[in-house]
């Protein structure tokens, strides 16, 4: 496997799905090949209707060290969740 075939991350949206999910990675020399490889490796069982491939080097990820700062504050903001609100049962369509 040549070092000149960069690594791509693969995201597939399933037939019944709403968003692309990360399924793994593969090596390819160019974008067209990456799509074909992704199709051959990750959609053999009709899992997907849409493929995104992104060069791994282009992915910017949040730092797990900062997980607390990034994600903790949302934890106690329960008012973003519908279950926080107490609506009488008689009111429909809410």
């Amino acid at each position: 496997m040549s070092n000149d075939w960069p690594l791509f991350e693969v995201f597939i949206r399933a037939r019944s799905g709403l968003e692309h999910k990360h399924v793994g990675s593969l090596h390819a020399a160019d974008a067209r090949m990456a799509i074909e490889h992704a199709r051959d490796v990750y959609t053999r069982r009709q899992e997907g209707v849409s493929i995104w491939v992104v060069r791994s080097s282009e992915i910017i990820a949040s730092d797990p060290e900062e997980a607390d700062a990034l994600f903790e504050p949302a934890r106690d903001k329960v008012y973003r969740h519908p279950t926080f609100y107490d609506i009488p049962d008689e009111v429909k369509n809410l």
Partner: protein, 330 residues
């Protein structure tokens, strides 16, 4: 199982630079996360030994899948019916795919696939001993699906819950695909066992040659395996070698009985007290020889992969060159 050499010593690694106190605290936090069955992800802090153990285990597993394409690929052109041919191609294709998922998981730990491949091709890396046996008849294809994939499934299901996220997720994907592999193998054996005299003899002969190597796949017995404890603590390994081996034997003996075939172990017996099938003594000297490179096909298997890699060099270079030309043009 595909990870037998897990039991060889793991070098104690160097953690990140920092005071011993920091290191100990990080390690404590890591251990707590693992104990809570939280997933460790690629960018999380992890002990160097954990990282290295995983790289070795995952890459061995990946190598096993791709070397495993060879003994079965050997029969694609000679499959005795079009349906069998199609199913065998699909199975071998799956194995290649599994190798890909696993290399992909290994790469999240900071190692490159090219490096791992180099280790395989120059004989430094280990892969499951089972693939160093030849496939001499069509019945071998059935035996591999039934026994080898059967053993693999037994090992793989617990790893779906291992602590390292990318490995666990790859295993979930693999397990979903694996079930057809074992059924395919058993179906082949069934057709042979119910067939002509010669087909039955072919099936029995395959079982005679594949039984012992299959149960040796689970690795050395717990008594002689000194590093299982650490891997179990890190939730990379969830059952011991002997536990998995016993489970496999208990499940497989009745299947052989159903086929009307005889397991080549005169000492095999049902033990009423423990409610298990107990096997006769395992010849660990054969296992050691195969793991050390002196099995029937070790050289041929690695040579085949090396040949493919060398023969394909001009192709990979051409693709890279073409891509570079077009990048600079656009």
């Amino acid at each position: 199982m595909y990870t037998q050499a897990l039991d060889s010593p793991t070098p104690s690694g160097e953690g990140r630079a920092g005071s011993a106190g920091d290191e100990a605290a990080l390690e404590r936090r890591f251990d707590e996360r693992v104990e809570r069955d939280e997933k460790i992800e690629p960018k999380d802090w992890m002990p160097e030994a954990y990282r290295q153990t995983l790289v070795r285990q995952i890459s061995q597993h990946a190598h096993s899948e791709i070397v495993g394409m060879l003994p079965e690929g050997n029969w694609i052109t000679r499959a005795p019916s079009l349906r069998r041919k199609a199913v065998l191609i699909a199975k071998v294709q799956d194995e290649g795919g599994h190798g890909m998922y696993l290399y992909s998981a290994a790469e999240t730990l900071g190692v490159e696939r090219a490096e791992l491949l180099e280790q395989l091709l120059d004989g430094r890396a280990k892969y499951s001993s089972i693939f160093n046996y030849p496939t001499l008849t069509w019945a071998d294809v059935g035996a591999i699906g039934w026994l080898v994939d059967g053993a693999a499934i037994m090992n793989q299901i617990p790893i779906c819950r291992c602590s390292y996220g990318p490995y666990a997720r790859a295993m979930v994907r693999i397990c979903k695909e694996e079930s057809f592999h074992q059924r395919q193998g058993f179906e082949i054996m069934l057709a042979l066992a119910r067939g002509s005299e010669e087909q039955r003899a072919m099936a029995q002969d395959a079982l005679n040659r594949w039984w012992w190597p299959s149960i040796m796949m689970f690795g050395p017995s717990d008594a002689t395996s000194t590093h299982t404890a650490q891997s179990m603590k890190w939730r990379i390994k969830r059952f011991t070698n002997d536990e998995l081996r016993q489970k496999f034997v208990d499940v497989t003996v009745p299947q052989a009985e159903f086929l009307g075939l005889t397991i080549p172990d005169p000492a095999l017996r049902w033990d009423e007290t423990s409610q298990h099938y107990l096997t006769g003594p395992i010849d660990w000297s054969e296992f050691k020889a195969v793991v050390q490179g002196n099995g029937p096909c070790n050289r041929e298997r690695v040579q085949a992969r090396r040949q493919a890699h060398e023969d394909g060099r001009w192709v990979r270079e051409a693709a890279a060159a073409h891509a570079a030309k077009h990048r600079s043009r656009s």
